[in-house]
């Protein structure tokens, strides 16, 4: 998409003289870019809390018996760790930070379709997040149900379940509104010439995600609402003591929460699809297949929730169907992995930090995915369900996948957002720490899980200690790397060297506007004439897609 950079230098979005002044310039803004930044700061804050809890979990597991905290505290810590990481960090992170900021620019729009609704989403997010944290300190004690809130424990325990599920409910609302906003934006606000198949893959993945957000989130909303009502008013819905069925709760919970893992994953996959071609300086391999596979993941992802209930006592036909579909949903992921790898072929590759994270994403997500396949197989999952193996699986996909995707996005786009570059050497050192620490922390979990170490265990048998020690030491390296990375990014954004509009040589629309972007994004409405990844300006030959 060849464009002239906007000639007239409008003030960028960070330096305009806004309608509201002081703090109101942020809290009352409807500029999608500022809202994106507000998400960045708030998510980072909650993320720090989540890391703290995760760190404490690992510390406690260093030795059998008590190391630093008591069992009740441990139980609330893993619950809050799960709730914060899932609902407050990885679900909103990519869409709300980078999606908000770049989706409108990438499709050539001035803002999202409902700017004020967008601001409302942020407020809901903050209220929900605060409520989750406040529940820590309310009388009754922090919630200790696990992030899954399984019935009947969640109606039995005396801890603050109601504040926690209200928090999740509100966060769900926020997520739904973001989804509604993005779908409408993509349908109605694409620039002239920006056809569906000229749209970059990041908007594509956000589009697929948005549908999952819109159609699946209400299920968890209502389910948790009912748990709350059941707790407060003793209405009989799920509680076995009142005749309810504990498995029904699980069905409804996972009906949302499995699709949710693809809400977590898809946007990060979109990031990877952006990063790889830019640093390989060539068009992406199999554009349409990647685009369609996002939709396929979103659709098939809605059909497989039962694989979390293989030991719960489902009917054999359900077991068969859910296991079978779990394998089918893995196909589109496989397609993406192969296309990304193929995109490196005959490129002109610069191994910059974003690409490092992107490649780390592909590898670690694949490991997570492979272990997903193993537990998708019925007999294996019977053995591994609720063991440390599962913990390993989901940290690999969510952190090795989405987490690394977020880091890739941060190193790729933050310079655009703030107009400055971080220190690349430090970034690489931090990357090395993170990768090593990550694998040390989570790989032992596969081993001990297979040996029979259950999850959500405060205490454990002595034969597992060696794995726990490795894992805990790994978490120290991991957190050290993380701190290094964040500090480096923050310093870079404050005082790093300035960068021009297109530091990486990208082709999507966001690189055609000044850095940082002006308030209205585009001086003139852009007119798109080519596909999103048109690298012909670097290449000598272009090979059209070979059709059978």
């Amino acid at each position: 998409m060849a464009f002239e950079t906007a000639a007239v230098q409008e003030p960028d979005y960070l330096h305009v003289r806004p309608k509201h002044t002081g703090i109101g310039a942020w809290l009352l803004t409807t500029d999608h870019k500022r809202i994106g930044l507000m998400y960045l700061y708030t998510i980072l804050t909650f993320f720090a809390c989540g890391v703290f809890f995760g760190f404490m979990l690992r510390l406690e597991l260093l030795t059998p018996g008590r190391t630093v905290i008591d069992p009740q505290t441990y139980n609330s810590f893993f619950t809050l760790h799960g709730v914060i990481m899932i609902f407050l960090v990885v679900i909103p992170a990519v869409p709300s930070i980078f999606g908000n900021f770049f989706l409108p620019i990438m499709i050539g729009a001035k803002d999202v379709f409902f700017p004020r609704l967008n601001l409302l989403s942020w407020y809901l997010y903050v209220i929900g997040g605060t409520l989750a944290l406040v529940s820590l300190f309310l009388p009754g004690g922090p919630v200790d149900t696990g992030w899954t809130f399984y019935i009947p424990y969640s109606v039995r325990t005396t801890t603050n379940v109601v504040p926690a599920i209200s928090a999740v409910f509100i966060l769900g609302f926020s997520s739904i509104l973001t989804g509604v906003n993005f779908i409408t934006t993509i349908h109605r606000m694409r620039a002239p010439g920006m056809t569906w198949f000229r749209m970059p893959l990041f908007p594509w993945s956000l589009y697929a995600t948005a549908w999952v957000q819109v159609l699946a989130t209400p299920i968890i909303g209502i389910t948790l609402l009912l748990v709350g009502i059941e707790r407060i008013f003793k209405v009989g819905i799920f509680d076995p003591a009142l005749g309810g069925d504990p498995i029904l709760y699980q069905h409804l919970f996972w009906t949302y929460s499995h699709p949710a893992v693809y809400i977590i994953l898809l946007p990060a996959m979109g990031v990877i699809s952006e990063v790889i071609p830019v640093f390989a300086r060539r068009t992406i391999f199999g554009y349409k297949f990647i685009a369609y596979s996002s939709i396929a993941i979103a659709f098939f992802g809605s059909l497989v929730w039962g694989h979390h209930m293989f030991t719960a006592g489902m009917s054999d036909s359900s077991m068969f169907i859910f296991s079978f579909l779990s394998f089918l949903v893995s196909i589109p992921s496989a397609i993406k992995v192969f296309n990304w790898t193929a995109t490196l072929y005959k490129g002109s590759i610069a191994l910059e930090v974003p690409l490092l994270y992107a490649l780390a994403f592909v590898i670690h997500f694949s490991i997570g995915g492979f272990t997903g396949l193993m537990i998708g197989a019925l007999s294996i999952d019977i053995h591994l369900q609720d063991t440390a193996f599962i913990v390993g699986h989901f940290h690999y996909v969510m952190f090795g996948g989405t987490g690394f995707g977020i880091f890739a996005a941060a190193h790729y786009w933050l310079p655009k957002m703030f107009g400055r570059m971080y220190n690349k050497k430090t970034a690489i050192v931090a990357f090395a720490h993170i990768v090593i620490g990550f694998n040390l922390t989570y790989f032992p979990m596969f081993v001990m899980g297979y040996l029979g170490m259950p999850r959500r265990y405060y205490d454990y048998l002595p034969q597992f200690q060696i794995y726990h020690v490795i894992s805990t030491v790994g978490s120290w390296i991991l957190v050290a790397g993380l701190i290094m990375m964040v500090v480096n990014l923050i310093r870079g954004m404050i005082s790093g060297p300035r960068v021009g509009p297109d530091p990486w040589g990208g082709t999507t629309l966001e690189w055609t506007v000044p850095t940082p972007p002006p308030v209205e994004n585009f001086a003139d409405v852009p007119v798109v004439t080519t596909g999103a990844y048109d690298y012909s300006r670097y290449a000598e030959t272009t090979e059209k897609e070979v059709v059978l």
């Binding site: 305009v16 309608k19 700017p115 509604v180 906003n181 009989g236 309810g244 069925d245 308030v519």
Partner: protein
């Protein structure tokens, strides 16, 4: 917030179809919210058919039917209010929106008496009377209370939206060529009706 000095907050172009699209998407989430409860209903009705049958005898079909008619009528007046405003008949439109509000209120009053009768018969969540019943009936009434209760909550939200729109019409914010706010509020109102269309047979008509 814009450029150098001062520009309006929200960009610029107007796209009513897009606004309606947003509203529809939101309605799907509402639909699925209630859908979740219909799933629970389906499972429990399947596993406790006889008890559901028995419990349903406690509900008064005629009350349910009256409420159905009230809501259907209110949906019609709502739809007509939009036609009226589009035909530049501001007064008629306001009258029709008001009629919708009155009907909505009647629905709630009706619901209130229905619930109070249940309560006075000792049927309310956690009551000893209810707890003495077999599990299927406890579940039936649990669902009855949460589903009609949540529906009533939606009626109230809908009333709020309509009231605001009434003011909009009066003040000329909603006019014949800028009616999308009223239209989206109308969409919301019809959804409330739509859900009731399913609630009615499922709770009142199990014979």
């Amino acid at each position: 917030m814009n450029g150098t000095i001062e520009v309006q907050a929200v960009p610029l172009h107007r796209d009513d179809e897009g606004s309606r699209m947003g509203m529809w998407l939101f309605l799907f989430t509402e639909l699925i919210l209630f859908g979740g409860m219909f799933i629970i209903y389906a499972v429990y009705r399947f596993s406790h058919p006889a008890e559901f049958h028995l419990a349903a005898q406690e509900l008064d079909t005629s009350v349910g039917m009256i409420n159905t008619i009230i809501l259907l009528t209110s949906s019609m007046t709502m739809a007509m209010a939009i036609t009226a405003i589009q035909k530049k008949d501001k007064i008629l439109s306001m009258a029709l929106v008001s009629a919708t509000l009155v009907l909505a209120f009647a629905f709630l009053v009706n619901k209130f008496f229905e619930w109070s009768t249940k309560f006075s018969h000792g049927i309310y969540p956690g009551s000893t009377e209810l707890m003495g019943k077999p599990p299927g009936e406890v579940l039936y009434f649990g669902l009855y209370f949460v589903m009609t209760g949540l529906h009533a909550l939606h009626v109230m939200i809908g009333m709020g939206l309509l009231a605001v729109n009434l003011a909009f019409i009066k003040r000329g914010i909603v006019t014949w060529d800028k009616s999308v706010k009223l239209e989206t509020a109308g969409l919301y109102w019809h959804l409330v009706d739509l859900i009731w269309i399913f609630l009615f047979p499922l709770f009142y008509l199990i014979h």
